[in-house]
Symmetry: none
Subunit: 187 residues, 4 copies
DNA sequence: CATGAATGAGGGTTCATTCAT
DNA sequence: TATGAATGAACCCTCATTCAT
């Protein structure tokens, strides 16, 4: 059944291309026409492979989440201390922050658009939990640490000119392993 | 004389109502017709008070930011330790987390829709910086602390069923003032 | 009845101001809001003096037509040759061509907008005939001559950069009094 | 393969139909909805073939100009005197005066609506110049002659009941080739 | 007299989607 | 399998007009 293989492969390629376009423009602002043109196909072709815009978006988000997750953990070996793991992970996060922010925005977009659909919301929670659990398992820290990572990414989204993300994540690392700087809690 | 209407007061009331509606549906998904209907006026009236949908949204964001800021700091007096301040602020954040998350989503939505418009992006950065600076001033901690707050909110957005937000913010407080739990860094 | 006098005077002043605005923008492109603002009043005031936009436009066109007619013939005395009269008239036309073109455009606009209304069309024809007859009486030439004047104005409208209107009207004068240049009819 | 439609041919047919509708109602007064209905399509289809209302209008004007030009000159052969050419052309103008007047009104309408847009003004000048140059080339007369033609058309617009257009153009022909009637310049 | 708030139909345009080919 | 023509509802916004004050 070679047809089926081609079909799935074509779907996958379209989804990869769709990520770049959706990530740049968001769900609502990217029309099917523009999406098709950006992918080098026609709208008819798009509808041949996917039932609707929603379906494309949903499948694309799930695909990207899975892809990032495996990429982030690929470099970690077992014989590292948790702090070394954290440094590697933070390094990867800083290096890929642009992509990660795009994914985050995409997820919020998705949540917005499918606010009533419990199944979709569950998918988001599931994907997010995958990231978080993997992170916690790798660095051996409690739930607070992951919030820090999310916050670091978001802050860069909200105030892009504030400072270097690299510095921000170094501060976070220190906070996580050495506690707050002395004197910080003085009133 | 015209119909007796306080123009500014009417604008303010429309903006307050607009927040509820935008927060529920998002920028793109809330049409001007629906917004007008939700506010109990007609589209013509909306355009009598505001030049465009963008203008409504921007004015509303600024208003909400100002309102939240004064509400969050109203309860703080000068003779508190920074940890006490943090506890009060975290308490307020937890109590108002639903509202804060809605604001965050709204801001991301807006950023998406106005990706090319530098002025709009600046508005977002400005509002975000207002929150952050006020927080840093109140608790006397460095930039990493604010990322933690953001992260705590976002995590609740992504995984609403994960745990009680109250617990999460207690853990963050401890992290900020006492450092990581002993043994956490053991591999 | 002083009220009535003021009322009529106010109407007249509004109409004079309306000419400048309608002439610049045309009937369709000038909104009642802009018209009111341009006149320094509110839309309510406008509707106090005139029943509708159509009524303002109609009254204004008729007023302008009457005003121009008397202005053009005011300077002519009886003891001039017809060629001298023509030169004076052409001079006046060239000097006032901008205004005349605006009136012409206004009339076309009017015709468009009131195409079904026989009474209005008749008013335009009547005003136009007044111009034409006065011209013919003054210069003592047949009906073809007036077409030349109209054509000269229109050509400037269509091709503003073509040449100087003054030259064009000099050529027309020569054509009317000395016939076509020799050799023009050679094939 | 898509539905078999010759894109260019369909565009052309839509433009031809658009002329009739625009000529009857004018640029501003004919809505895209009415235009579509008049053409037997939907607005979506219209926007499939043309980017905007302006584009439709501009393409239509150019098309009509080209069509009229070739129709007017089709009957002219090289071995005619310039006066014979003029007679043929005037005959064609008189026969098609209704159409020509509609084109003129349309152009004025357009000029009005797009007063600020230099490109549009250029289109008008270009179309007008095409007519004028062709006329001058055919009859071998100077620029004044064309003003006469325009004037003749306009006069018919302003005073439709005045006289027979045929008579008017005969008078113009005589004026152009034989000069003014004797005694006309006597005072 | 005069104001300007309010209306809601209608403007040009875009869009996700369908379907004949 | 793939095309792109066609649809028509919905988008943001403007408008002439009305009316309570």
């Amino acid at each position: 059944m070679p047809k089926v293989v081609d079909h799935e492969k074509q779907r996958a390629e379209l989804l990869d291309g769709a990520f770049e376009l959706f990530a740049d423009r968001g769900y609502a602002a990217l029309s099917m026409r523009d999406l098709a043109r950006g992918l080098g196909v026609t709208t008819g072709t798009l509808y041949h492979y996917f039932k609707s815009k929603d379906v494309i978006f949903e499948a694309m988000v799930l695909r990207v989440v899975a892809r990032d997750l495996s990429a982030a953990t690929a470099q970690l070996s077992d014989d590292l201390t948790s702090r070394e793991r954290l440094q590697l992970i933070f390094g990867w996060i800083v290096a890929n922050q642009m992509d990660l922010r795009r994914v985050l925005l995409l997820v919020f977009d998705f949540q917005r658009h499918k606010g009533d659909d419990q199944a979709s919301q569950h998918l988001v929670a599931q994907a997010s939990a995958s990231y978080r659990r993997e992170f916690e398992a790798q660095v051996g820290l409690g739930p607070g640490a992951w919030a820090l990572v999310l916050g670091g990414l978001i802050q860069g989204l909200l105030e892009p000119d504030l400072d270097d993300a690299s510095d921000r994540f170094k501060a976070l690392e220190q906070l996580l392993f050495q506690g707050p700087p002395a004197g910080a809690s003085l009133n």
